[in-house]
Symmetry: C2
Subunit: 333 residues, 2 copies
């Protein structure tokens, strides 16, 4: 049965503040390059004061993925919590304007819309500090059954293992998707997230996950090993599909019986890798929902990731559907 | 006497909302490509709802120029009105973070921080709709004498002829600068602005302006002619220096007795011309304050404009000082 949506996603609804920074700045602020760190409102204000001038753009891992699916011509839906404020209005506008369904009620009289302060070093790596704000108020009540049940794939970001109430939302959504015969995909999001919530994540993966996204560092962290290849072997025994992204080395798509090595798509100049993993997931899931073979799913992931790496901001600036047509990877719908 | 600042500027303090659009969208919304139109809060909400997903970035013509001067290594100050809200905090952060002095008190219990909805067509042209919000509350009281008197050049944006109170701020600032023996520069900002306020602008230019910035269309509009070359001849009789920008044809720097033809700097790909004129003014004024000859001032303008044309957003993403060093145009300070 075809769903109304290709992908429905649940995530932390965040507006990104993106600015260039040097390695010395990261060191002075005690930030581990390439990671995501949770910060409180006071630390957010303090860090922002010291950051360079930046741009603001809607972000949030799963939100970026949903935007990527829409940019590829797919039908997508999003569940996440913003506040009833200016940044919340920006997030809401952007995700709806790209064609995604977004109907989660905004939070009133609570914390502000979440912000992610992203320092981008000259090598294009992004280091993120997130003030979760309204995101911590996402509850199972916000998971609309009709939306989840109508999507071919339910996509969940690992970051949602941080706000405590969100895990119940996860559990509810997974139950609904399973009941409707849908697939469930999870992104590990971040190595520290994988470390912090290793046991809960592994339990969830074993019980519920069909498709797992991770990069080399995250998959190694999940299995508590320094050897990502060993972790990759381990994950094949646990999920039907694991897509391991490897930066400029491309990606590996692993199934219990088969594997595909997928090249990265060319990038003229690496400006900002924010959103690269999210867009890889977008391309992959759009391909999967369109019935493409797994190697083509991986190639669509590479293509979508390459687009966002070339500019500041985590979501596509050009139509991914057109890029896919040019690359002759369009969906066989 | 050397001033504490190279440039002090007064302008509408605005946060830009920048999104891609097709020509058909401009036509459907009744927008004249390349222009700036003032809109009210209701129209702003309505238009925003129909715009594509975008990014947000601090803008405002004179604010962009001040940021460009700072990026070149110059000392700059800004006077403009934001509200005490989230977008106001972003504007304030960005202009201070680049090193400019900004101390105008934010507006409380009034309209929100100004937004400029910018639709960028595939040819890189930007079409702007501005909700002035808190900007209309800028008054002469906000013009800090110490700041204006301490700057080599006072820079004023023509857009400030729209909010009525701002003209008094202009008059006060010009009087202070003149009294302190400083130079006064004006940008015409927009052809419709030049048309709407032709007589007031001409009177102000004749009485107060040493350096005038305009593009071909704006200078023709000011002198109510379809012939920009005729307008350029006319302007030479009125100001000491006129810099006429001509897009990819470069610029003309005109004085009563001399003229310089300045080439445009190369741009790999025109993405978004928002802020190109503002950055030209930044390069030119930084050169002037650094004692450079006029042709080098024009070249610094071309270099700064070329940087912002290559990406979304009106302010430099890379250090203009480094670009100038690479191009061997650094200041002889």
């Amino acid at each position: 049965m075809n769903g109304l949506y290709d992908v429905a996603a649940i995530g932390n609804a965040i507006v990104d503040v993106i600015a260039p920074a040097g390695d010395a700045f990261l060191a002075a602020e005690g930030l581990a390059k390439g990671s995501m760190m949770l910060i409180d409102a006071r630390r957010a204000d303090e860090l922002y004061t010291r950051m360079a001038p930046g741009i603001e753009a809607s972000g949030g891992s799963a939100g970026n993925t949903v935007a990527g699916v829409a940019s590829l011509g797919g039908r997508s839906a999003y569940i996440g919590k913003v506040a009833d404020d200016a940044l919340g209005a920006i997030f809401t506008h952007d995700i709806r304007a790209i064609g995604a369904h977004f109907a989660t009620a905004p939070l009133k009289n609570g914390p502000a819309t979440a912000r992610c302060l992203i320092n981008v070093t000259p090598d294009g790596q992004r280091t993120m500090c997130t003030y979760l704000g309204a995101c911590v108020e996402l509850t199972a009540h916000d998971v609309d059954p009709a939306t989840v049940e109508a999507a071919e794939v339910l996509y969940l970001e690992g970051y949602l293992f941080d706000p405590p109430e969100a895990r119940r939302a996860f559990a509810k959504a997974a139950g609904l998707a399973r009941g409707a015969g849908r697939k469930i995909a999870l992104s590990l999001s971040d190595a520290f997230v994988a470390e912090r919530h290793r046991h809960a994540l592994l339990a969830f993966i074993d019980a519920q996950v069909d498709i797992l996204f991770a990069n080399e560092v995250e998959i190694a962290a999940l299995f508590d090993t320094g050897n990502w290849a060993a972790a990759a072997r381990e994950v094949r025994t646990r999920v039907a599909i694991a897509a391991i992204t490897r930066g400029e080395a491309g990606s590996l798509v692993l199934c219990p019986e088969t594997e595909h090595i997928v090249a990265a798509a060319p990038v003229a100049r690496v400006v900002d890798t924010t959103g690269a993993g999210d867009q890889y997931a977008a391309g992959f899931l759009f391909g999967l929902a369109s019935g493409k073979p797994l190697d083509v799913c991986g190639q669509l992931g590479s293509l979508a990731a390459a687009e966002v790496i070339g500019h500041y901001g985590p979501r596509p600036e050009t139509s991914l559907a057109e890029l896919a047509r040019t690359a002759a990877l369009e969906a066989a719908t």
